[in-house]
Symmetry: C2
Subunit: 232 residues, 2 copies
């Protein structure tokens, strides 16, 4: 199961959006606001959010992720629902600010804590955005570190943002389990040197990038059993 079994797991770093926080609540609201196009709208919104973070990371054009999220929504609306009233944007953005946790997550995070593992969030989100999400999803107090793109002014998959994990957690990167529901993020973290766990909630095929995450599962609870077998 592990490609890297010599290294014990000494800490766990989590991606935020889609991994800890369920962005599907946004889809329901998008469907209410824009019947028949809610799924397409929220998928294009998410795709553009990621694309814009990549383009800005590549070209050295940092901008807070909250603003990128709004830019991406504006593109998705222009493409798919140009008749939407401006108030709809505010409703969708508010929904994004108060995402809920996936149902199994808080229990799984508490179990990882009980194993003695320090936990971190390592996210493209800017600091305010991630603090609000942690509070609104009931995850306060579970994380030793909230590591944000804001401190390095760039986004995944640049090395500068993955640097934050070993710097803050104070252990070698190969001993940090990095958990993401975004396959590209799990693979780029593997390239960087993390041990990686891909949460594949939707049964998506593996991205074809010549690298696989060290482990894959469909729920955060599987991270607990994976880590328990590999403690220092």
């Amino acid at each position: 199961m592990s490609k890297n079994s010599d290294h014990p797991i000494r800490a766990v770093a989590f991606d935020a959006y889609g991994t800890l926080f369920d962005v599907h609540s946004v889809m329901s609201l998008a469907e209410q606001i824009c019947p028949g196009r809610g799924e397409a709208l929220s998928m294009l919104w998410r795709q553009k959010q990621i694309e814009y973070s990549w383009l800005r990371a590549m070209s050295g054009r940092y901008k807070p992720f909250w603003e990128i999220t709004r830019d991406a929504l504006r593109f998705a609306v222009a493409r798919l629902a140009p008749e939407l009233a401006p108030a709809a944007e505010a409703r969708l953005m508010n929904q994004y600010a108060s995402l809920s946790a996936f149902p199994e997550n808080i229990g799984a995070l508490r179990e990882l804590r009980a194993l003695g593992l320090p936990l971190a969030i390592l996210t493209n989100g800017n600091r305010e955005m991630i603090e609000v999400s942690v509070r609104s999803s009931g995850m306060e107090g579970l994380f030793a570190h909230l590591l944000s793109s804001e401190s390095v002014q760039t986004f995944k998959t640049r090395d500068a943002i993955y640097d934050l994990g070993p710097q803050a957690l104070g252990v070698p990167v190969s001993d940090i389990l990095f958990v993401s529901s975004n396959c590209w993020d799990a693979i780029a973290a593997t390239w960087y040197g993390y041990r990686s766990f891909w949460i594949n909630r939707t049964g998506a095929p593996l991205e074809v990038l010549d690298t696989a995450p060290h482990a894959t599962g469909s729920l955060l609870t599987e991270v607990v059993s994976y880590a328990r077998e590999r403690l220092a």
Copy 2:
């Protein structure tokens, strides 16, 4: 119309795929091979091709664009048409190797040449791939330079690949008109310092990246009139 009217145009650099070469012939074949899903397959193929080039550019994992194109096709097939026979991959890749030019392109390129402007291709494609496409589309002899990702081992939107334009053409970047049908490419070239022209063939909305190309049109012939008004 121009934001940058002090600078005359002294050379023109073109993106290749989607700008000079029509990738729609791939869509027709995809529809034959995979009825009802040809459009979705070719769109996901193209999207993944771009995504993989971005991820590899950001993470320093260069691989020839032809191989990335095959990787992207494999992902698209795994997601949308996992029952496809392996021979279908070869047929689709062959189609990609012999793309036709958009109908107006060769005439427009000849007119630009007649204005005395040196022309270049500046592309993510590797050298062999682009040479084959130039030959198979009847564009041989029109370009002074074929500038490929291969020489810098990275992809758009990294500065290293946009560097190739002024280096090869020997004029300041602000005097080079960069033409692309990919809005993100036209915008990133603008960030870099080119004068930019977005060929928006499909009426797509502008990407929301705080920057607009200097000019937009729907056909390559519009580049000719734009350049003619701004000669040195």
